[in-house]
């Protein structure tokens, strides 16, 4: 069960500013990373560290300037070919769901794209709503009628409905209140035990990341300066930058 889900080798992403090829800026520099099934890798860094860019590379939304991203041991291919195998949960819960569609319809979409039959879709959508703790009637509600935490649960349900092998959580709890954050963090951990997906948990909040991840990679100015089991971050990590991040938790 511990096959590698996502593997990044020497990934470099260069942004070229300006119309006539202005100065180049390396958002990600020579990153090597791999995530196994059932494991959550926390990716911590401040704004501008390149963590979101790396997340987009892992999702196949952004082709790296250099380096190879392989998925399940094979070249990534296209999102179309990989449909149903990976998904994403994003930060702002007010835009996580299409306001015009009922929650059930939003969660059903990945199954429609996979070509699953209507009967099977209805069954799996109902099941996934229960497993995220939103049974009885939430399926037919519109996102506008839900609280931030509930909307985030629906987007997690959508991310899980095709039982993908890999999920990226990009600042998925940062916009939530502290009390609701804990609910969603626990939900992510419980669902990982149940479905065994590999996860990349991107956040600027070391406390939340440390709680939910098995391993943590600290990113600073496009490079990974430390990659260690999360227990290390309850004590004193090696790299000075990691220690500085820890100081804000004291």
């Amino acid at each position: 069960m511990t096959e590698t889900v996502v593997d990044l080798q020497h990934i470099v992403v260069t942004y070229r500013a300006g119309f006539l090829g202005g100065e180049a800026f390396d958002a990600v520099r020579k990153v090597n990373l791999s995530i196994r099934a059932g494991e959550t890798l926390g990716l911590v860094g401040e704004s501008g560290s390149g963590k979101t860019t790396l997340g987009r590379v892992c999702l196949g939304l952004l082709a790296p300037t250099q380096g190879v991203m392989s998925f399940g041991g094979a070249p990534f291919g296209t999102l179309r070919q990989r449909r149903g195998q990976l998904s994403v949960v994003l930060q702002h819960s007010e835009w996580a769901l299409n306001p015009r569609l009922r929650c059930g319809v939003s969660v059903e979409e990945p199954l429609i794209i996979l070509g699953v039959t209507a009967e099977e879709r209805r069954r799996r959508v109902a099941a996934i709503f229960d497993s995220v703790g939103l049974g009885d009637g939430y399926v037919d509600r519109f996102p506008g009628q839900l609280s931030g935490g509930q909307r985030q649960r629906v987007s997690i349900a959508r991310a899980l409905v095709t039982e993908p092998r890999f999920i990226v959580f990009d600042e998925a709890v940062s916009a939530l209140d502290v009390s609701v954050q804990a609910q969603v963090l626990n939900l992510i951990m419980d669902l990982q035990h149940k479905y065994g997906f590999g996860a990349l948990f991107i956040s600027h909040d070391l406390a939340a990341t440390r709680y939910v991840s098995h391993r943590i990679a600290v990113m600073y100015r496009g490079e990974i300066v430390e990659d260690a089991p999360s227990e290390r971050f309850y004590g004193t990590p090696d790299h000075p930058y990691s220690q500085m991040l820890m100081s804000s938790l004291a």
Binding site: L59, G60, L61, L79, R80, Q81, R82, R83, G84, L86, S87, V88, V89, L90, Q91, H92, W95, A96, L97, N98, P99, R100, L101, S106, E109, P110, I113, L114, S155, R158, A159, T162
Partner: protein
């Protein structure tokens, strides 16, 4: 809530909060009804020659007076309303379809598509409407079809720009990214996610394009480039009436006032829809 009750409530709130727009809505509905039901209304026969004195002033029998052939001008103006509305609606519908399609493509695909569509819009935008009218009249000769073409050419660039910017903002939202990651094709994303979320802005632009369309139609027809006799639109009636402007001003004024009311009502309804979609909350400075 049934759609009927929903619109009823919205109308009620509109009447209380925004009397101006409500007035606009009432005028628009009245004009459309009169335009559609004209022939069955007791307004007189638009074609009956010498129904009254030639160039007679407004009177009970002929509320809008009579034209140079003694025809009552009221039923002719009513016929004109229908022609002007119909012509503008046809033109604006073409604009909406083409404008939304290319605007959405440019806003969603970005890159080269965006540049091509933007340059295309810039090229069309460079021609003021009436100048396009001259060119089209030279090409296809005056008439309803060229009027429709001119209105579309003049309003498509505006439409593309608005739809493009709205699409840009919607495409950046989480639910679009999530659908892309799930492997949805660009077409599915546009139809299921983007279109329903920009339809509000499209409708607002539609009303504004309608009012621009009616201005263009009346100007073209006045210059003899638009609707030609025997067909009649508010613009062509303005043209006919202007020949007798100083001696029988009621011809031009009646058609002109009705045309202005039509355009104003469409503008006001557009404002109301725009405020309903994203209310602009100002702020007191104290």
């Amino acid at each position: 809530m049934s759609a009927l009750r929903l619109t009823g409530a919205a109308l009620g709130r509109l009447m209380r909060e925004d009397k101006l727009s409500f007035l606009g809505l009432v005028i628009l509905v009245l004009l459309i009804l009169v335009g559609l039901l004209g022939p069955w209304l007791p307004l007189g026969d638009p074609t009956r020659i010498a129904a009254g004195p030639r160039l007679g002033p407004p009177s009970w029998a002929f509320p809008f007076g009579t034209d140079e052939l003694g025809r009552s001008y009221l039923p002719r103006v009513v016929e004109g309303i229908r022609a002007t509305f119909l012509l503008s609606i046809v033109a604006v519908s073409i604009t909406a379809v083409i404008g939304s399609f290319f605007g959405m493509l440019a806003g969603y695909f970005r890159g080269m598509t965006d540049h091509l569509v933007a340059r295309g819009a810039d090229i069309l935008f460079a021609f003021p409407a009436i100048i396009v009218g001259l060119l089209v009249a030279a090409l296809m000769g005056p008439g309803q079809i060229s009027a429709v073409a001119v209105i579309s050419i003049a309003t498509i660039p505006l439409f593309i720009r608005v739809v493009r910017s709205v699409t840009l903002s919607v495409a950046g939202r989480g639910f679009v990214t999530a659908s892309e990651v799930a492997g949805a094709t660009p077409w599915r994303v546009m139809i299921v996610h983007i279109l329903p979320n920009i339809i509000g802005a499209v409708i607002v632009q539609l009303t504004y394009a309608m009012s621009i369309g009616m201005i263009i139609e009346s100007t073209l027809s006045y210059l003899g480039l638009g609707v030609q006799p025997p067909q009649a639109s508010l613009g062509s009636l303005l043209r006919e009436g202007s020949a007798y402007l100083t001696i029988a001003p009621w011809l031009v004024l009646s058609a002109g006032i009705v045309l202005s009311l039509a355009i104003m009502s469409v503008n006001l309804v557009g404002d109301a829809i725009r405020d309903a979609i994203e209310p602009l909350k100002g702020r007191a400075l104290s």
